[in-house]
């Protein structure tokens, strides 16, 4: 049961970046299009799952004083791997995400999960936690990217979805649009979660 619980909490109770306000930079930067949000989400999930796995395996071997340094090395290694794999098999996405691929290493969600969860829990639970949080992050980014893409350029996943006389709000795909859009979504989440009693 608890595996399911650890897996599903990433989709609502601890849904990043809305309920767990971490990892804001990639959230804001790459969500100009739904596809880029999806790519960033998947790359982050890859790193999160494997770093959780490794940290959980090594949790009894790593001395407390150097644990953060060890986690950073583990995470950075998987980030470099993700960089190389993206370059080799998904080059347009690698170009589109640009500097934010190496910056996955400082996404606080990943170090946060390693320290708060994987370092204290067995392997299976840590995998479920990483996968759940990662996919939750992916969905959030894709949705945010979708909203900004529809309003900012009248498209979704590159296909025209708005009526022909729709005037795109160019502001939405620029930095201010990112902040305002995320702000409104956060507010909306607060309203919804208040109606739904907490577990």
């Amino acid at each position: 049961m608890s595996v399911v619980k650890e897996f599903t909490k990433g989709f609502w109770q601890e849904l990043p970046p809305f309920r767990l306000v971490l990892g804001l930079c990639p959230t804001l930067a790459v969500t100009t299009m739904a596809e880029n949000g999806l790519g960033m989400g998947l790359a982050t999930t890859f790193v999160l799952v494997f770093s959780n796995l490794l940290v959980s395996i090594l949790r009894k071997l790593i001395p407390g004083k150097v644990r953060i340094a060890s986690y950073i090395v583990v995470i950075a290694s998987f980030v470099v791997m993700a960089e190389l794999l993206l370059q080799a098999y998904w080059y347009p996405m690698y170009k589109a995400l640009g500097i934010f691929v190496p910056l996955i290493v400082v996404n606080c969600i990943i170090l946060g999960r390693a320290e708060a969860f994987a370092s204290k829990n067995p392997i299976i639970l840590s995998l479920a936690d990483g996968l759940g949080i990662g996919l939750g992050f992916t969905i959030s980014l894709t949705v945010l990217g979708g909203i900004r893409e529809i309003l900012g350029s009248g498209k979704l996943f590159g296909a025209e979805v708005m009526w022909s006389s729709f005037e795109p709000l160019g502001f939405m795909v620029k930095a201010p649009g990112a902040f305002v859009c995320l702000g409104f979504l956060l507010g909306l989440m607060n309203i919804i979660s208040r109606r739904r009693p907490a577990h």
């Binding site: 930079c25 950073i72 290694s77 960089e83 290493v105 400082v106 930095a175 902040f179 702000g183 956060l186």
Partner: protein
Amino acid sequence: MGDYLLLIVSAILVSNIVLARYLGNCPFLGVSQKMDTAVGMGMAVIFVVTLAGMITWVVQYAILNPLGLEYLRTIAFILVIASLVQLVEMFLQKSVPALYKALGIFLPLITTNCAVLGIAIINIQEEFNFMQTVVFSFASAVGFSLAMVLLASLRERFPTARIPSAFAGMPIAMITVGLLALAFLGFTGLTG
């Protein structure tokens, strides 16, 4: 000289590190509730970013490039930054206790501030020379502090404003940042 001036103006105003390049948002929103913490964090960031920019530049051109290890850049840079922050913390604690008292609590947060790693990577991607690296790193960090101080001064007024309760805290801060970013968009074209 004019080139450096342009680089400074562009890094602080036109391509502000937080408001236009989306870097360093977590500490930017996390510690900008009060003016004095915002100033403290800003100072610590200026100090670490400038140092980290210089060291990572040397690491890239003196170690990684000659050995053909460019693909290890991410891991090398984050290790340099993490150890640098640790060293600065130890040094300040021992030799400048007053400064340590002011900046100390912000230093551990800086390792995972993506502005530090981000600026270090931009320096390499833009193929800056050493002088440009120093100037750009410093100016970007000043831009970060400027944005943070501006936001803190706005957020200090929130308690007196009537904000819908669902938007209190992070949502309204985010929207405020959006408006701030909109204002900074007005600087576009300033550097041609």
